[in-house]
Symmetry: D2
Subunit: 225 residues, 4 copies
């Protein structure tokens, strides 16, 4: 198994997160999803929570936009936030619809604690800090789905559509773009030797904490809580 | 002269701002612009500062997106922020280019105090409060340009392109859309009788203060400071 | 068992949270604490996490201060934030010290997911909204400890010091003060009929969600996770 | 004339601000204040605006507290914010009272554009960035008053009380404390070589922009606008 190359920050943060990263990308939910053995109810519970998640995720990318001070960063963040709202969300609604979960049900989903935990961690970190803090907290979601997708792109089975999406070229290109955005944002502010600065430890910790909360998101799917 | 109908909140806030509103939309800069007597250097100074302004304006609309909790609001805000970045900004760069102001010059514009004053007022109000506070501070810019545009749409002359743009259908539609967004956001949170709540006075004051700072923006153009 | 009277908002929000409120204030962790049967390790785990919690709690009250626009609110929030830092935190360090948990250990506590979940929910809600949103998210902690303290003030036993503190006059006065702060902040912004406004449902939901995450905090103590 | 030694960041930022710093600390308002020739009405106008300023200044220091993640920083920021509210503000009210400006008049002061410009710049910079951005924007106020006070501590005359306060030991100690807070916050995050990082230029620009807006505050006093 090779680690995807989403850039320098990801490589460093992933390594620093250590076993926490593996516990996230190799979580039982993910294994069962890839193996096709995940109970349908778990998948549906996850899908429904993911709708609420996507709203918060889009708002968080909008916050990246608001907190950027370079035009290229604003463009990248706007593209992602806008794309989430106008591309990924309608697609998600459609996928849920096929599973019998109507848009009305989606909008009335009671948000699970694990969902609140990760999404609010991202937002609190982003509002409380600057754009880099926000990106470090967002990164585990973007890259984790990318790594999982790559690993299981061809798994097929009942959830093969899901893994093919995240393992596919479109999503992998987003991961590469976000990787470049993060690396370039770091270097533009902290210089090429940023990993040696004390702040690098804070960013790595934010990545690791967000990773831990993402792991809780999978567990929520498994437990249907 | 009729007042444009951009909705209920605008009508109330505009009235509450009183003479301050007139001092803004009938500022000498605007009169001279419409009459074609505005010194070229004033217009160019304004254009150059407006580039920096647009960046902050787009970021502020991204913050509306981040602070919305209704999908329709997120969509509207994202559309505006994304459109500013990918439509209005390139157009602005092109217009400036025709006047001999290169993109490089635009990016190195030293931000004038009046520019900082309005843009940071909007952002401080938005971060410090909720989406409604932010919208009240953004409104004078959106609607003021609309009202000025309507009034002088056919003024022609050396700056006739500018007035025609803001008086034109595309921009007027944006004003109507923002008017609906604000009215609907207010009603969804504060109910149909929101103008009777104490909070209405705070929102009106934010609108009036932002209007006062927008007036300073015109003065900056006139003074080339 | 009577419900403590911490004001109008608390009464409404508590009722709206329904079974979620009971699940929080009557959590097994609390019952065992009052009965003296809580495993020592659970209590120590809780104490250590509570140190990290208090830092975030103090910062959240500082945010109330930053987001207030009335002098009386700023004074109340500053008093609480300042008191947490300079009164409650040193006391907490002392109590932990007696249990063999040094200040150094406290500062190196790895923050548990349940701890992140509640504290970041409060901050994300506060930054993303206005002072009222922030207060609604802070309220379950302040008032829940007050209600638990009142109920078990005389429980005695190995954890009798804890329950006596929160059931005691000093802490109960803080609850009353915070109750008045919240009621007065609501009325000053939304008028006396605020419970009838749509926004009241949002505030009640924020209170209920934060309550759910506080419940997770007790569970963390029990599970030592 | 010697430059006060408020630490490393101040020395660098002050130098980078260049003529803008001199234009602020040697502004005509300040010269006339020290010479005793400042019109009484200008001083009273300044005092009244300064009341509104102090509220925003205290809130901004509360935001430093909220955005700190080190206990020593939280303590320092809380001390300043709390001291402003409970020490400097009552004193300010008392001084104004002696000049015939009642507390009621103070609370109804219409905020001048120059006042909004500086205070909102600080808050927008602070919310939009992290604690360092906020400190860079706050620094010109703290240190500028210190430098002016030192220079004119013994000027005497009708405004001798003002200059003696800021030139006095108590205020100078605050400047030293804030200088240490900033230097230590920078080093703890960006390491000892932070002035060589790209981010140093951003911080210096924020300091320079805030200095420019502080200059506008003096001009407002002179113009009574």
């Amino acid at each position: 198994m090779t680690t995807p190359d989403y850039g320098r920050a990801f490589a460093l943060w992933r390594q620093a997160a250590g076993a926490g990263w593996d516990a996230y990308v190799q979580h039982d939910f993910v294994r069962q999803l890839a193996a096709g053995t995940l109970p349908r109810d778990s998948f549906l519970h996850y899908l429904q929570q993911d709708y609420v998640f996507l709203l918060h995720f889009a708002r968080s990318w909008a916050l990246v936009f608001a907190k950027s001070d370079r035009l290229s960063e604003m463009r990248a963040a706007s593209g992602i936030a806008h794309g989430l709202l106008n591309g990924e969300m309608p697609l998600h609604v459609e996928i849920c619809g096929r599973e019998g979960i109507t848009e009305d049900m989606l909008q009335q989903t009671p948000e699970s604690p694990a969902n609140m935990a990760y999404t609010r961690y991202v937002q609190a970190t982003g509002y409380g800090g600057d754009m880099l803090d926000l990106l470090a907290a967002l990164a585990p979601c973007v890259f984790g789905y990318g790594e999982i997708g790559l690993l299981h792109a061809d798994s097929g089975g009942p959830y093969g559509g899901w893994t093919a999406t995240y393992g596919g070229g479109d999503y992998q290109r987003i991961c590469l773009e976000v990787g470049r955005l993060i690396d370039s944002a770091l270097e533009a502010r902290l210089g090429p030797d940023w990993p040696a600065l004390p702040r690098a430890a804070t960013l790595a910790r934010q990545f690791a904490q967000a990773t831990q909360l993402e792991q809780g998101f999978w567990q929520m799917g498994l437990d249907r809580t």
